[in-house]
Symmetry: C3
Subunit: 489 residues, 3 copies
């Protein structure tokens, strides 16, 4: 595996630099405004974390195993770290990413860690750098920035912390001050990990979220497996369309019983136009029978199912999270060799206004309905999402996330989303991460940036400081709790 | 009518806060830059208001009635205020919005006012809050921010001002320093209110604007009524396409005689491709005869008519205002119950470059033609509108308006529109409001934000301060007067 | 030719203002941050210029003639200057733009110059003003801003400098500290100017870039001429599709032999979907035979050829520059009278994620492939280009250019492109200009703005100052050299 390009473009030598977290990091530059930001932030920095959209595996919480080593904890599973190395010529195999075919991949965690450390200059100005610095410093006590020179020493230092018995997933819930955290679970999940968490008294703290994408997109390679799992988990015959809907309804209830507050829908488009029932049933039947379904039919069925999911949310009160506009697995080579979620999901332009109209027309003003809209296409904040959320009682604007979960991205979010929608129509922050140790850093950054934005409103005499503090508390804690309350059922 | 959600999410209690307008509000934070902004602003703050695009009813000026009460003046007709309450679960009926079917709606203005005051925290960080604060303070002498506690007191205080005989629409023209204000009038309007204004010596100060949308969109429910009015007002037989064009031409002349300087076109798309005349005539004829017209034909005819309107502007010199990209009446329930303009107009992405090409190719370099382009899709400022306005002699960029008429929105406007187009190709500010009392606050905010942007150019040594002052005067006063001069006819 | 509008809207009188370049121009306003920006900038201001994408004619370097006069050097060929005057009613003829039909146009350079000077206020807040100020001051020693009053004096002052024998194209390479500059050359160019430059020892300093657009777009009026030139230059029979591909391959090799490092592709769309070979061959054959080709076929063939060009880049290592999304020659009247590149190229919204997928799927992870992606649709930076460049090892983000090559535009570029992609995936700056004397000013502005952005990262404690300096050096010098290295062949 070649790291030629990396050697050519990254600066891998140079002095080892100290790692010191400045208390004013990411605050506005003007001294007067910074002082205001600091005093707002002081009121929110220690609030408990509400993490209602994330990807830490439920089993990790249930089994509570020790973490393996620095590379396996911090690097290999974090595709935002790995993709930056790919972008400079390192292959996934070089970062120890498992191959679907079981083929060879870097097995030595220390080697992977060294590659990461040597590539540290690549992360300048990125949110990954920001989060990692904070994790290194506050969680692991690291005092130097990674470099080719200190890679081994850091590996050992972090490894020693990981070996400590207090450093386990469940114990970190307390250490990280996490009041509520949600996993993401397939529609056909048997929720056994959540049952185990319930038995351990963690049921109200670690919640499942219902994600049916795999059984909604008829062209998914794992569709049939998902349908089988759905049938099995629900105990309902899913060989026909109505059984399929019943099974989904049953699983949603099962999720509700296990504490779920929300569903999650990662769709290609935001379309919500329902099909005639017979057309939907015919499509489902055809796919079950192994027949051919066109791309247009795949999208039409997905839109139809989004409408059905909204209808079910009106019944059971699960808050509906929608996030369209991503081309998944853009590089077929990486997907074929390593599977999904490997850093090659690429956003594209997205449309909400017309796409959501059927759903909002039907349920948008229904007090039993709530939807949280996420986007990576920032242009829709001022143009579509804020106008929608500022009128429809059901609509909340989701957090700036994924590629926008960054200092500059979050600033643009506040500037473009809040004037028209008002702060009360924000859903607060979600970290959306599988990098467990980064959760406190991510929430802290959001609190810093929101304090920074609010400090400007104060400095510009558009808001009193006590109102800004209330608003910061709303954004950090109150709104995510309110937005993800079940509204019915 | 439920206000459950409101109670859950808005902070309705807490101390009553003072309402004090800081003289430096919305100015840049840096002290040095703020001083420059202040000195630029001092030169424009008292300039007369040129308000060439608005929605105050002509009859209000002509009849000059006293205003009813605080809720009926400031809350009920302002759909930007009401929509924020809808977004938190208050129904339109709860805000006294009349029902189309005459059904029950809140009749007690004081109750409506209390609901608004209790919801005041929802407006934090919004332009509505900014304007209302300024109106409350400068127009009505209010010294406390609205709250559940002081709602009745404020109602009485504002009511007392409204009862004063000097507080009438015509008297406010002077008090607000309005040199020129334009109403918006249907193509088939008989302009009787404007005739009355003429008779009262206000003809040169309150002008009509010609808005033919209702007779251009073949699918409008009120199309036939509009056509009938057009025929009646013009005295021309509009049963055929050529009569229709002649009647439009005649009404434009009538508007010109009544002082009109501009037309206004709120189209779904910006398309301007003309149809073959026979095709346009056939479509019109078919619609007149009650035949079916497809959605595609509706848009094709609208595009065709935009081209015709441009052609007529070349003849009569009326400045053509175009603003596409809004999904009107997005929620059919609210539209069915309460009619249009109720806060459910939602923008979508829009395209100008290709859409306007036919029109600009034909008339764009003609000195007798002028068009002002508005958008709520901000992405087009740097990408399309500035490049167009920076080349075509006929094109001016309209004000940041509607949802973008806000501190952050206007800042982005200056940053994205002026570098490529130059300030001379801006048309200056329009308030676009039906909230009469908010007009001074809106123009003042624009003057503050433009001074703020210019102060940065000065502080960054990109512009001398005296040039910045000239530019601020241009934006506030000179450019709207120049941009809305008739160019021919 | 009318300059009526200009007289109406531009401020043409007033005091003659001094022209003084402030050393801190365009730096951030906050004094603490400005000091950081200044110290970063000090480390990059004198670095040599790498100018890998530009439009100065190769023959100008080869023949090294004296420049004609101020108007012919600075105004007439700069369509960004001229378009601003068109936008206020001056006709192209009034600025001396030659007519295709040889018809009359302003022949007196002094008259053209006076028009420009009188229009100087139009340029407030534009990048043209910024560059011109810097050229006037540093290159020509001008100490007053242009005005109607001093037009003649400036004309004479600048003319005197131009008359100096040291003021020739080749001599300016040294004076401007240009280490490397690239011209843009048609696929069928015989590269005789570059051969002459080679003979003069300038071969490694002035490089050709291979631009095949004219032979790739089947609807170009000059397509047949381009094909003939391609056949002639390559000595290959291009009457069939395979000969056409062979000829392109041969010319690329000829460009490589003459020092070329890159190709340049200005496409309408970014589509890269390859056609079946027989379909492509049939289309080519049909066009050669004079048959009709539909608009859809034109675009399909262009997409196909972009894929072929990528394939050839894998073979010969030429870096592939792609810039879609511009409606060329938007006004047919100006195009018909004066030809292309006259300021009427207008951008539109563009899509990269899906469009580039075929190409990136095939070559995106190939170490022999590199592509640099340019855009004028800024929305794609955070949404598409940064995610692509932050994953694919072949992708670099091109400079903010054309209409975005401005203080505000470049700031937005850094804010939206670098967090997700990392600085190492930027290709550094290109000036993209035919205004030779503006090159130092353009590169200097980029260095100032990048220093300004980096100073904020430092002031916000997101980056150490020494890292910021390294990054500024990378952006100004190291990355353009690395990004434009040939990767294979």
């Amino acid at each position: 595996m070649s790291i030629t390009s990396l050697q050519r473009t990254a600066r891998t030598s140079g002095p080892t630099r100290p790692l010191v977290l400045h208390p004013d990091r990411t605050f506005p530059v003007d001294p007067g405004q910074r002082a205001i930001a600091r005093s707002i932030y002081e009121q929110v920095r220690n609030l408990p974390i509400i993490s209602m959209h994330g990807h830490v595996d439920a089993q990790v919480f249930a089994d509570n195993p020790p973490f393996a080593d620095p590379a396996q904890l911090l690097i290999v599973p974090d595709h935002y770290v790995c993709r930056m190395l790919y972008s400079q010529g390192v292959l996934p195999e070089g970062m120890g990413i498992p191959r679907v075919d079981g083929g060879p991949t870097e097995a030595d965690s220390r080697t992977i860690w060294r590659r990461f450390c040597a590539a540290w200059p690549l992360f300048r100005g990125t949110p990954s750098r920001y989060w990692l610095e904070e994790e290194f410093s506050t969680v692991f006590g690291v005092t130097e920035q990674p470099s080719a020179d200190n890679a081994d020493a850091l590996y050992d230092q972090i490894g020693a912390v990981l070996a400590d018995s207090s450093f386990r997933p469940q114990q970190l819930l307390d250490r990280f001050n996490i009041e509520l955290i949600s996993t993401t679970d397939a529609a056909g999940s048997d929720l056994s990990s959540h049952a185990a968490l319930n038995a351990q008294g963690l049921g109200g703290r670690v919640l499942p979220t219902f994600r049916p994408d795999a059984v909604v997109y008829l062209d998914r390679a794992d569709w049939r497996d998902g349908i089988d799992a759905l049938g099995q988990a629900s105990g309902i015959d899913v060989s026909g369309y109505h059984g399929y809907l019943d099974a989904l309804r049953e699983r949603r209830q099962a999720f509700v019983r296990m504490g779920a507050l929300a569903t999650d829908h990662g769709h290609y488009y935001a379309d919500t136009a329902p099909l005639p029932e017979t057309a939907a049933a015919e499509l489902y039947q055809r796919r079950i029978a192994g027949g051919t379904v066109t791309e247009a039919e795949v999208h039409a069925f997905a839109a139809h199912m989004l409408f059905q999911m909204a209808q079910m949310s009106v019944e059971d009160g699960l808050v509906m999270q929608i996030h369209p506009g991503v081309y998944r697995d853009h590089h077929s080579g990486v997907f074929g060799a390593h599977g999904q979620d490997k850093g090659f999901d690429i956003p594209f332009g997205v449309e909400f206004t017309r796409a959501l109209q059927p759903m909002l027309d039907a349920f948008g003003a229904d007090p039993r309905f709530r939807c949280v809209l996420f986007t990576i296409d920032e242009t829709v904040y001022s143009r579509e999402l804020a106008p929608l959320a500022g009128a429809y009682s059901s609509v909340r604007i989701g957090a700036p996330w994924w590629f926008i979960d960054s200092p500059e991205g979050m600033r643009r979010f506040f500037e473009t989303a809040t004037e028209t929608a008002g702060f009360a129509n924000m859903s607060g922050f979600v970290d959306d991460t599988r990098a467990y140790c980064s959760i406190p850093a991510r929430h802290d950054l959001y609190r810093r940036i929101s304090s920074g934005y609010l400090s400007r409103l104060v400095a510009e005499h558009r808001l009193a400081e006590d109102e800004a503090i209330e608003t910061a508390i709303d954004l950090a804690y109150r709104l995510p709790k309110l937005s993800y309350q079940r509204t019915a059922g």
